[in-house]
């Protein structure tokens, strides 16, 4: 398959990239690892005359930690994130999600910003970022803004980004003590698979009362975008941190939060059933980690 002709820009600073994006607007396609963009170009799903690669901008691939926050640059790769000590220690569900995406060959190139901007309902890193309450950091030549990641997705392949904007990174609050999280993806095989369903759960509990203080549950592949299971979350808050509560949350997520469709990867009924199971399992694992 031949790639169509395009002009490639490789800016070395964010400022230069933003200026290029401003002057080219919708005509230019941003690219990081290229594992999605190049496939879409080869298959003629997307068309562009101009590609702006972000790979030469060193600061965009950094993972930086301050007192209470971690910032993940948009070009951090799956392999880099799974090997990062701070991600392994504080954000284990992101590590698991990054290890679930594609194959090891893809993970050496694929980036977290690319996975989000591709905006697949089945994207691996998205539920993991959602449960840690990540904010997406967005810049244009004349503006900077931050947005909770749950508000970033507008539909399959569609995000809140305007033509001049670039997603530069993710800001994550360091999770409190007595909290844990887990991510599970279900596919037909374990490698190079597009998820049938994927679920992430975060849970913070009070060791004195043994009750759930806070929880975030995110579901993938069961709606037009990855979603938060808000009904399940509300049901679980304040409940005893034990298996029966996790089961009830799973039931709420299955019956009320998810709206899956039938497709060749799985039926809506199967997806719905699995949401119940995986929500319960991820909550249980999150609780084990929190203890």
């Amino acid at each position: 398959m031949l790639l169509p002709k395009f002009e490639l820009h490789e800016p070395v600073s964010i400022e230069d990239a933003l200026e290029l994006k401003q002057s080219h607007g919708t005509d230019a396609r941003l690219m990081a690892g290229g594992t999605d963009v190049l496939v879409l170009l080869k298959k003629k799903v997307i068309f562009t005359d101009t590609i702006i690669s972000l790979l030469q901008i060193k600061e965009l691939s950094q993972i930086t930690q301050t007192n209470d926050t971690v910032i993940i640059g948009t070009c951090a790769t799956m392999a880099q994130l799974s090997a990062s000590p701070v991600i392994q220690e504080k954000f284990s569900a992101i590590k698991t999600a990054c290890q679930s995406l594609g194959s090891h060959l893809i993970r050496n190139r694929a980036t977290i910003g690319g996975n989000c901007c591709n905006a697949s309902p089945a994207g691996d890193t998205i539920p993991a970022l959602m449960i840690y309450d990540a904010k997406v950091m967005i810049e244009s030549a004349d503006n900077k803004r931050e947005l909770p990641i749950k508000d970033f997705f507008k539909g399959p392949g569609k995000t809140d980004l305007t033509p001049n904007e670039i997603l530069t990174g993710f800001k994550l609050p360091i999770p409190p003590a007595n909290s844990g999280a887990h991510y599970i993806q279900l596919g037909k095989r374990q490698s190079s698979e597009i998820n049938v369903v994927n679920v992430g759960s975060f849970l913070e509990y009070d060791p004195d009362t043994k009750k759930v203080l806070n929880t975030r549950i995110a579901l993938g592949s069961v709606a037009a975008t990855p979603i938060r299971a808000e009904k399940a979350e509300n049901l679980l808050k304040g409940k005893p941190a034990e298996e029966s509560s996790f089961y009830d949350a799973g039931e709420a997520a299955r019956k009320e939060d998810c709206k899956p469709i039938d497709d060749f990867r799985g039926s809506a009924a199967y997806r719905q059933a699995m949401i119940g199971v995986l929500t319960k399992r991820t909550l249980q694992a999150a609780f084990e980690q929190a203890k």
């Binding site: 496939v39 190139r109 490698s191």
Partner: protein, 152 residues
């Protein structure tokens, strides 16, 4: 428009002018005649085009050649020496880990990258290490045995 890039492939320095829309796999095969690297799906699913780029195994069909300026690349052609085949290649021959041979260069480059990073992998680590490489003759068990035989 072509851009001139310099890179090291199998310990040899190259300078070459490439179009921005040429993939690394195409540059290796059609410009440099390094046809050991195969093209299967061309979309990052099959792993036939696996090469080691700056120490990491990648699908060379999903890397733009112009973006490998300054890179160090290892391909299947770099493994054998005047003394003969590389020990991994010997093991594949020994264990019969080859049927049609199309997946072998990619499979062997993934194996090399796995063993470079982790000389004593577990069974799971070996199976995961080659999980991005498809073999349509379903020879995975013999491939697994060949890799397993390389452990110290």
């Amino acid at each position: 428009m072509k851009k001139i890039i310099s890179l090291t492939i199998n310990d040899q320095a190259y300078e070459i002018a490439v179009e921005s829309n040429k993939t690394l796999a195409d540059m290796l095969r059609y410009d440099l005649d390094l046809t050991g690297t195969k093209k299967g799906c061309d979309t990052g699913d099959c792993g036939a085009c696996t090469v080691i780029l700056n120490g990491d195994a990648v699908n060379s069909c999903l890397v733009l050649a112009v973006q490998t300026d300054g890179a160090v690349i290892e391909t299947i052609e770099g493994l054998a020496t005047d003394q003969g085949l590389h020990p991994i290649q010997e093991a594949f021959v020994e264990k019969g880990a080859i049927q049609c041979g199309f997946c072998s260069p990619g499979m062997i480059m993934s194996t090399k990258n796995l063993l470079d990073k982790n000389p004593n992998p577990t069974e799971q680590e070996i199976r995961k290490g080659i999980s991005g490489n498809l073999c349509r003759c379903t020879g995975y068990q013999k491939i697994f045995e060949a890799i397993d035989s390389q452990k110290p």
